[in-house]
């Protein structure tokens, strides 16, 4: 059969299937919605002046579409006249304050008894909106496309031209060059909604490959810049832990620096941050992924967990979390159609966490199993709250821990800990990932003891992950120590006191070992 016939038959088959689809009804607003709306899974997004109201009933229910206007949106304020007010508790998803402006913004959701979700967004607009003439296609609102994402300052638009880049010059003079999707003979969409806390843009410019300006628009500088709450780790910090082998590479939110969510990425290869195309994917890391490699990214508290499948109690595997059948952002952002991508939203402790698992085309089965095991090990001991605040995802040592070579004891003398690391460099970590007062102690099979190396050249750094503070470094070469139970080991000259989320990295000769700990 030739391709022409194949395509015709495929078209006929799908069209026959489509005949079975019930065409939803369309009604103008004013139709009595009643019970239909009460049982509908409704999502309403209202921003500023006008309101578009779209609900969908059950499988056999009608679609109701209407437009209306509303001047003020408030989390507790009724919507259009015939809108039933959700009865459930209100959950504040994110909130912040416009610097220099009276209006705070708050994103909240009502959860009704029927598990309906109704999101309300207040004050999400980010100041004056420029009217941009062609070929920029009027970005008529600087609003968040997806209000459950705690992004504060937003711009988007479409460029109907072959553009090379779009430049947003912010009112403080800084420049943002948002990723462009499309281009060439299709409209290029651009959007830059990831600069939490940044001011409005002062101008927007599209340039072609020669650097010539295609279009430019300037807006009036506004004082209504934005800021976030919870930039510092809150007092009741949510501490997560995850178990992974020390041979895996770890990156936290710095891997996707323009993404507002807290993220953790673990991979079997060194992780290169950033990317030129997508802010929301570990683009460069995915480009570097070799055929036998694996990568896990977790975007914590990305949205409410309502509607998402529960984090599997028995752990993840290929069946529980199957490969995405469609082309995903991971494929497109990294230009890697060969990747096996598992992408989805999962609910844990009431919050929704996006999970990205990527395998190279030749990944070994044991590495695949190890990847699922790592993902399954994510834990938190308390109910977390959705917040813009930083989270701390600490390292929990895999069980059983490292078995160091003779003559070292297979287990640390402190029974609440296990060895973590490689035979080139290891240290004890608490089995439950808690952190107590401790010295910075390290073992290595390359360390011959105090007689050979009285001041071992071990260096240790403590880097805050939840705040921008200077890196704390060990002050001098280490010292040697010995106990009957633990043998020869090294002590680094460093004792960090401040509470917070710390990435601890030790280097001795050619070996490096890192872990993340939360110091209460």
């Amino acid at each position: 059969m030739n391709i022409d016939d194949e395509l015709r038959q495929a078209g006929d088959r799908l069209n026959a299937k489509l005949e079975e689809v019930t065409v939803p009804q369309v009604r103008q607003r004013g139709t009595r919605i009643g019970r239909t709306l009460a049982v509908a899974a409704a999502l309403t997004i209202m921003i500023g002046g006008s309101v578009l109201w779209l609900t969908r009933g059950g499988d056999d229910g009608p679609v109701v579409a209407a437009t209306s206007t509303s001047t003020t949106i408030d989390g507790a304020q009724p919507g259009p006249a015939d809108e039933p007010q959700p009865a459930g508790p209100m959950v504040v998803i994110a909130e912040g304050t416009f610097v220099g402006a009276d209006e705070p913004w708050r994103l909240s959701a009502f959860i009704s008894e029927e598990d309906d979700l109704c999101m309300r967004l207040r004050g999400m607009t980010c100041g004056p909106v420029p009217n941009v003439s062609n070929p920029l296609s009027a970005p008529s609102g600087t609003t968040s496309e997806d209000p459950s994402e705690p992004r504060l300052s937003c711009a988007y638009g479409a460029v109907h031209a072959t553009v090379f880049e779009v430049i947003l010059t912010l009112s403080d003079g800084s420049i943002v060059k948002p990723p462009i999707h499309g281009g060439g003979d299709i409209p290029a969409n651009f959007y830059a909604y990831c600069w939490a806390g940044a001011p409005n843009y002062a101008s927007i410019t599209a340039v072609d490959a020669n650097g010539d300006t295609l279009a430019e628009s300037t807006s009036t500088a506004s004082s209504s810049t934005t800021t976030t709450t919870g930039a510092e780790l809150p007092a009741a910090a949510t501490v997560w832990s995850i178990a992974y082998p020390p041979t895996w590479h770890r990156a936290d939110s710095e891997l996707m620096p323009n993404l507002a969510w807290n993220s953790l990425t673990l991979a079997t290869f060194p992780l290169r941050e950033g990317g030129s195309k997508c802010a929301h994917m570990p683009e460069n890391a995915l480009r570097d992924l070799s055929p036998g490699d694996a990568l896990v990214s977790i975007f914590l508290n990305a949205r409410p967990g309502i509607g998402a499948p529960l984090w599997p109690e028995d752990g993840f595997n290929d069946t529980v979390f199957p490969e995405s059948t469609a082309t995903t952002d991971a494929h497109e952002c990294a230009d890697r159609p060969d990747l096996e991508v598992h992408w989805g939203l999962w609910s844990l402790n009431g919050n929704g966490h996006y999970v990205l698992v990527v395998f190279g085309p030749d990944v070994a089965n044991d590495r695949r199993a190890q990847t699922w095991e790592i993902l399954s090990s994510l834990r938190t001991s308390e109910t977390s709250t959705a917040t813009n605040g930083k989270l701390c995802i600490v390292t929990r040592p895999p069980q059983p821990g490292l078995a160091p070579p003779a003559p070292y004891h297979p287990n640390p003398s402190d029974e609440s800990t296990v060895w973590y690391g490689t035979t080139a460099l290891w240290t004890p970590l608490a089995s439950d990932a808690t952190y107590g007062p401790r010295k910075s102690v390290w073992w290595s099979s390359d360390f011959g003891g105090g007689a050979d190396e009285p001041t071992p050249d071990i260096s240790v750094t403590y880097q805050r992950l939840d705040a921008k503070t200077p890196v704390i470094r060990s002050r001098s070469p280490g010292t040697n120590a010995n106990t009957a139970e633990d043998g020869w080991f090294m002590i680094a000259d460093i004792d960090p006191e401040p509470r917070g989320c710390w990435k601890v990295t030790a280097t001795y000769r050619e070996a490096t070992l890192s872990y993340v700990a939360y110091i209460p």
């Binding site: 015709r8 799908l14 299937k17 479409a158």
Partner: protein, 182 residues
Amino acid sequence: VTAFQTLSELIWVKDLPVVRAAEDFEAFYRREYRPVLGLAIVLSGNRSTADELTQEAFLVTLRDWDRVGRMENPGAWVRRVVANGSLSWFRRGAAQTRAMLRLGTSNTDHRELDVEAELDLWREVRQLPRRQAQTIALMYLNGLSRRDVAQVLDCSEETVKTHLDRAKKTLSARLEDGGEMS
């Protein structure tokens, strides 16, 4: 401004010539819903996303029906909205999320249309360059002529022919490599 209203703003939908009095939207909608949904399914590869894209496309159309309804080919216009919308991960991501929030608890769609069983060949189509994939879907699923496809894609009939020839050549090669695809 609402999130749903941004489709025509985010995605450039160039107007088609206005030539006639608007027909009844309801009739247009009933006639075009299924083929437009089919197009969205093929191009997005996901039923929930396709539902979203289709609904939003018709919603945008309804809002502008006074203008769109008088175009020479409103069907081409709504298909252009869907074709462009399915290209944008931005839209797709948001639509999938909303669909997930609204429609249920699973990352996997198990609804009435057994899409997966029908998508083997269409999955191959979706791997083609975008214009080629759109051309194949519009011709073999929606049954559009080259002229109509050119109108949807806002290009010449000659360009449509080029897309079509290249797409069929690629698919034929894959068919030979992988055996029966459908």
